[in-house]
């Protein structure tokens, strides 16, 4: 079944120029997103996963940040050809590509009601009157499963719970019929049951409105349940990519294996020891010439220190890993 590519990112590079030097937050990553697909970008904090998404809609503060190169192909155009404040970019940001942020409570304006914030977005992106915008707002609040939508429109964010705020944010994306929703750690601040509710909501949007979703997360559990494909990110680069099944069950990169070994497992019968990945991720302003994971890798050998392993195909279904070794073989 051939799916249409909705978004394609090629060799994206974003750096921050700080007093201590260039911080390569995103260092040449390429990926794509099909229609009606959920992909996940996984990694520890500080690996550049959020920056990689902010770069797409050019939400990088400049200075110190700068998008140094690459292409973001969306709807036949390269989004990086537009300046961040251009008319075109503003039309895309929030409308075609919407973003849901990590902390729902802080990313909504506390002094405006939900209704005011919703109608503002709708009126900016669609030609409609205030009254129509209000109606669309109520409809989309209902669509994300908020009870008494009409009443909630008059509420301020602090009157809503965390899960409700996250839904309200999602409602703005629905109201503008966004093609892509980028969810940056959408559930981190929420309780497990609310987490499940928000994620099921995103899943239903994919089916109902044919949206595509990019989940940025460090939670491998979310990935297992909801993502179609996964990109594992480490120190600004992708180290492994493939279908969720391949990444979780047939992981090839030592970092992915490490991530899987260090989470406590609910379903394990026996007591098992957690295997933390030793050390900390390298500082992005002083990356080693070889593999960035070499310092923490249990399988490291001579070549790893000198040469950066490029992402190469290691299995079917575009399963790629950036490692000199075939770890799966060596693991035994």
């Amino acid at each position: 079944m051939e799916k249409k590519k909705l978004l394609e990112v090629k060799n994206l590079k974003t750096s921050f120029f700080t007093a201590s030097g260039e911080v390569k937050a995103v260092d040449g990553i390429s990926y794509y997103l099909n229609e009606q697909e959920i992909i996940a970008i996984v990694g520890e904090s500080g690996c550049g996963k959020s920056v990689s998404q902010m770069s797409i809609i050019q939400l990088i503060q400049s200075p110190p940040g700068k998008i140094l190169g690459g292409q973001v192909l969306f709807g036949g155009r390269n989004l990086l050809d537009f300046t961040p404040k251009s008319h075109e970019m503003r039309n895309i940001r929030g409308a075609s590509i919407a973003m849901i942020f990590q902390e729902p409570m802080t990313s909504l304006n506390p002094v405006l009601t939900i209704g005011q914030q919703l109608t503002e977005v709708i009126m900016t992106h669609t030609k409609c009157s205030k009254k129509e915008a209000w109606e669309i707002g109520v409809e989309s609040l209902e669509a994300v499963g908020i009870p008494d939508a009409e009443e909630r429109m008059h509420n301020y964010p602090f009157q809503l719970s965390g899960g409700m705020c996250q839904r309200a944010m999602t409602a703005t994306a629905i109201a503008c019929r966004s093609k892509i929703i980028i969810a940056d750690e959408p559930t981190t601040a929420l309780d497990v049951t609310t987490q499940a509710q928000v994620m099921e909501l995103l899943l239903s949007l994919v089916e109902k409105y044919k949206t595509s979703v990019i989940i940025v997360t460090h939670n491998l559990g979310l990935v297992t349940r909801y993502a179609d494909r996964v990109y594992v990110m480490y120190a600004g680069k992708f180290v492994e990519s493939g279908t969720t099944e391949d990444i979780l069950m047939h992981s090839k990169h030592p970092y992915t294996l490490g991530l899987l070994d260090c989470v406590p497992k609910l379903d394990s019968k026996k007591e098992h020891d957690l295997m933390p990945i030793h050390g900390a991720p390298p500082r992005l302003d002083e990356l080693p010439p070889g593999c960035a994971f070499a310092l923490r890798c249990p399988y490291v050998y001579g070549k790893c220190w000198e040469e950066y392993p490029t992402l190469r195909q290691v299995g079917e279904n575009e399963h790629c890993a950036a490692c000199h070794l075939d770890v799966a073989v060596n693991k035994q």
Binding site: E44, S45, S161, G163, M164, D191, V192, T193, T194, Q195, A196, Q197, E200, H218, N219, L220, G221, L222, T224, R225, Y226, T244, E245, L248, M249, G258, L259, L260, C262, V263, P264, K265, L266, D267, K269, D273, L274, M275, P276, I277, A280
Partner: protein, 333 residues
């Protein structure tokens, strides 16, 4: 049961009065903790799980007597600490310590690591030479696997994991027997989470510590705890051995909570049935009548709406508070 439990909590209640109006008269209570009983044996870990607002932290704070409980008894080594005066309880303060959730907020940014630990070490006002203090600081840093040379650094120079280690070192400084760990790993990255959990387990083995481990992450609690209690709106709804929580969950809330946590095994995950709870946790201000879970429970009957079911033993120390256990265990959800 042969051994005397180190901590025993009986019918603990913590109500916060709601005051309104000019004279601030109480118009009602928020029943943050309502009739909670459990005990912990020495050297064991008791896990307390639940969503935010279910009263798990309040329970922890009552055990530490940061809050004065409205009712109920807390026995530490057989002595009731709820009735003690401030002077009487002081010696016990050293025995029961706390590890906080937020390693960033719980350390004074203007104190060096040495000074933070020194303050805790010298809190008993016994005389110590500066050499003794330094030795003790180094000993504590080593115990939590921090580099001794870090002692003149400040919290902002440390990573999240290192700060949490420092928080643990501070808790260890008075040689406590019982540590209340309030969400100690939820603010950390997965890999660091694993390090801290392993550290806590090692310290427990080496020093015979007892933990009251409060967290919302079922997988973490299952990994570290010996016994788990699931809380909902101020009450314990199910209590069981840690390994039973995945194999034999009984209360509909526990089942829903479990199904909300995804499993990283792809094949198992694809076959699981998901129970998505409707709505949200009701406000404890006007908690539902009867079983507090009944508005969200799909097995709820008329009986559930009227009276609160007892926490009954269903065999092997597994306690559940539900009227419809046969229906719940029959249905595959």
């Amino acid at each position: 049961m042969q051994r005397e439990p180190i901590l025993k909590v009986e019918n603990l209640k913590m109500y916060f009065p709601i005051r309104r109006g000019f004279f601030g008269g109480a118009i009602g209570d928020v029943k943050a903790v309502d009739d909670v009983s459990f005990f912990i044996e020495k050297g064991k870990t008791f896990g307390l799980v639940g969503e935010s607002g279910c009263g798990k932290t309040t329970t922890g704070k009552c055990v530490l007597r940061i809050y004065e409980p409205t009712g109920g008894l807390v026995f530490y080594k057989g002595l009731d600490i709820t009735k003690m005066s401030k002077a009487q309880i002081r010696p016990f303060r050293r025995d029961i310590q706390l590890i906080f959730q937020d390693p960033y907020g719980s350390l004074d940014p203007r104190q060096s690591i040495y000074s933070i630990l020194k303050e805790a070490i010298t809190s008993d006002k016994r005389h110590r030479s500066s050499q003794e203090v330094t030795n003790r600081v180094n000993e504590l840093l080593e115990a939590v696997e921090l580099d001794v040379s870090m002692s003149d650094r400040y919290p902002h120079e440390m990573s999240g994991g290192q700060r949490q280690r420092l928080g643990i070192a501070r808790a260890l400084s008075c040689d406590p027997e019982l540590i209340v760990c309030d969400e100690p790993v939820s603010a950390l990255d997965v890999s660091i989470q694993a390090e801290i959990i392993n550290l806590l387990k090692n310290l427990q083995q080496k020093r015979g510590l007892t933990y009251l481990f409060i967290a919302h992450d079922l997988a973490v609690v299952k990994h570290i705890a010996d016994t788990i209690a699931v809380m909902y709106l101020g009450r314990i709804v199910e209590m069981m051995d840690a390994h039973e929580i995945y194999e034999k969950p009984m209360h509909p809330y526990t089942r829903a909570l479990l199904s909300a946590v995804p499993i990283t095994d792809y094949y198992v995950e694809k076959q699981r049935t998901r129970i998505i709870l409707e709505g949200e946790v009701p406000s404890p201000l006007n908690a539902p009548s009867g079983c507090s879970f009944h508005p969200r429970c799909r097995y709820a009957t008329e009986e559930c709406k009227v009276t609160m079911p007892h926490l009954d033993d269903v065999g092997g120390g597994h306690k559940v508070s539900c009227y419809n256990l046969d229906k719940v265990t029959d249905g595959n959800g």
